[in-house]
Symmetry: C2
Subunit: 112 residues, 2 copies
């Protein structure tokens, strides 16, 4: 359950979302490839990838001196299942008239 934390946290950063986008465009890139074009040092990118890896949004495999990064859709799927659905399936309560709210509230104190 506190798994969500790592995932949401990882997704909260724009640079990390961009890294996911880059992997979406081409899966299995190395650290160097992912760094190219980004205005960040290799080390910074490495740490971002570390966060994504910690959240299991990215899975890696090392081969020789290279490390390949792959998207893992599972955590996003989980977030989707146990979070997004919950809030999007519910009727649009924000449109409930405040008047109704207040009436219900006052009924508890002043029954009609």
């Amino acid at each position: 359950m506190r798994d969500d934390d790592a995932v949401f946290n990882a997704l909260a950063d724009g640079s990390r979302r961009e890294l996911l986008d880059r992997l979406y465009a081409r899966d299995g890139q190395t650290l160097r490839e992912l760094t190219a074009g980004l205005q960040m040092s290799r080390q910074a990118v490495s740490r971002h990838l570390g966060v994504l890896e910690g959240a299991e949004l990215v899975v890696t495999r090392r081969s020789g001196r290279e490390k390949f990064h792959f998207l893992n859709p599972v955590p996003i799927q989980l977030i989707h299942d146990r979070w997004i659905d919950k809030y999007t399936e519910r009727p649009v309560t924000a449109l409930v008239d405040l008047k109704t709210e207040l009436e219900q509230r006052h009924d508890l104190i002043d029954p009609p």
Copy 2:
């Protein structure tokens, strides 16, 4: 597009997700009601709600000296549409054999 940032950021914090959960359980609560039971000062909760409001995840309405907070599912719906779908619809590329990757790669250098 950089709207996502506010939403992801707001969702990144566990306390804020708990506030959303509380509103999910009962919509239209006041600041005091939302604070009750949380181990945080009213001001801290107020700032969290401010972040949620900034991301439009929560909509408020003031009546007299009370401020009522309502869930707004729209931003989550947007995230869902333009983000979650993208990553969950794609086939599970993480299961692509690295061997294939490497072969493709080496084909570029050492054509068979």
